[in-house]
């Protein structure tokens, strides 16, 4: 595999994390313009713990995920009375406040004769884990792929449980959910929290892969892109968002002559696909059909 292909595939995996986090929030009935903030918190947490405190990467990522989870929990509690556009704007404000704050924080240090540490808009450079441990791009790709796969398998298993089922009804028809005795709040709060953690996981891995992060990477563009990936890929199954990421990054990025016109094509493509598949390519209905095919119970 060429280095270029490995890079593309690694990016597909990394952005799948934030796409899946947008997915979880969409399932529970809300739109979030702010998942990029958790991606960023995960990235910066990893960078801070690894570079400043020499914690292991595993611990740094897990701790980063925990921070993201509680931060997202806080967000969901602040916005508990908000829904729809109000919630979306609140997430946008939240994410931008994070990004702009990172622009203001500077704490540069030197490590092994290299400049590193928080440096406002100039970013955090020299997160050298992959160099220090001789991890080649292919190796890192496998690591990312395995982690993503575990997550996706977990979500697939969750699909068959009442957790997902109830969450989807809360998202689709709140009144029906209430009439069935389903309390909406726990699902909403938990899914938003989990979405934050998953995005943070992706962010941590991103920081490792890129060795350099800056606040501008975690702007509104990333957030709305991940939303677009999910909506176009479909909300029916966890591979829906991955499909969306694949379409944009995978196909368009890798075909050189198209990449100059990427957004012109992808933008138009998204709008057109949504006309015919408003619930995405792998819509919940298609997912039901697939489930019917694979899991024929008695009765």
């Amino acid at each position: 595999m060429s280095l270029y292909l490995i890079t593309v595939l690694t990016n597909v995996c990394l952005f799948s994390f934030i796409a899946l986090s947008a997915y979880l929030i969409l399932i529970v009935g809300e739109v979030s313009f702010g998942q990029q903030a958790f991606f960023g918190v995960g990235a910066y947490s990893l960078a801070i713990f690894y570079v400043y405190f020499d914690f292991s990467v595993v611990f740094s990522i897990l701790f980063g995920m925990t921070i993201c989870f509680f931060l997202a929990l806080l967000l969901s509690l602040i916005t508990i009375k908000l829904s729809g556009l109000y919630f979306a704007m609140a997430t946008l404000a939240f994410a931008e406040i994070f990004r702009l704050s990172m622009n203001l924080i500077r704490f540069p240090i030197e490590k092994e004769d290299r400049a590193t540490g928080l440096n406002g808009p100039e970013g955090f450079e020299n997160i050298r884990w992959i160099f220090e441990n001789n991890i080649d791009p292919l190796g890192f790709f496998y690591i990312t792929l395995i982690i993503l796969s575990i997550l996706v398998i977990f979500l697939f298993v969750l699909e068959r449980s009442f957790v997902m089922k109830n969450a989807r009804i809360v998202g689709k028809d709140l009144i029906l959910a209430q009439s069935l005795g389903i309390s909406p709040r726990p699902y909403r709060v938990f899914f938003i929290g989990a979405a934050g953690a998953i995005s943070g996981l992706g962010g941590g891995l991103f920081a490792l892969a890129n060795t350099y992060i800056e606040p501008a990477m975690f702007g509104m563009m990333l957030g709305v892109h991940s939303l677009a990936y999910t909506i176009i890929g479909g909300l029916g199954l966890p591979i829906g968002p991955l499909l969306g990421v694949l379409i944009d990054i995978g196909i368009l990025e890798s075909i050189r002559f198209l990449s100059e016109y990427r957004m012109i094509i992808f933008g138009g493509l998204v709008a057109i696909i949504l006309i015919f598949y408003p619930e995405g390519i792998i819509s919940p209905r298609i997912a039901s059909r697939l489930k019917r095919l694979f899991f024929k119970k008695g009765l």
């Binding site: 089922k165 109830n166 989807r168 009804i169 689709k172 028809d173 009144i175 029906l176 959910a177 209430q178 009439s179 069935l180 005795g181 389903i182 309390s183 909406p184 029916g236 619930e279 819509s283 919940p284 209905r285 997912a287 039901s288 019917r292 009765l299």
Partner: protein, 208 residues
Amino acid sequence: MLELKSVRKSFGGINVFEELSFNLEKGDRVGLTGGNGTGKSTLINLATGFLLPDEGEINLGNTSLLSLDPWQIARLGIRRNFQSVRLSNSLILRDQFFVPEKKVVDNLEMIEVSGIKGFLNRFPSECPLPILRKMEVLRALLSSPSVLFLDEPSAGFSYGELEEFSEFLINYVPDNTSLVIVEHRTELMERVCTKNWGLFLNEPLRMI
């Protein structure tokens, strides 16, 4: 058991209920009818927590329902359907019971008699309306409710389907479940219900 006391409800200046009082005992079979805008659905909405009264009390036994969310009231055993069919378009009927699988298996006979067995693997868009309405009733019944409100359940039924549906309700709604049927046309109520009330604009409930 379930009672509404002196309930007043208005919508932007239009008074639907002035001083509505309504009492439901265990096992009652009550029918409720009235013209357009007399508050039939509003009564159900109030009793199930989807609307709050401007004044008055709503109690289940000794518990006031006024501070509870609709889902909490549903969990107390007060179930309902809606005037328009509320089934998820992305799930097959079998996946829309929202009760433990065991309950579905235990009540196979009821599901068969209702006639929806053949449609369990279909999406709502692939099923005729009476099947969808029965599905909603079944869904509510499988949760063993103490009170069941049906909002125009026979809308869209033919006469034969209505007869069949009446038989189904008579046979399968448990004796200790109270049933309230709200309808425009009275045929269903006449067959199934023992007490029938009429809602009239700006007047208290009247036995009919």
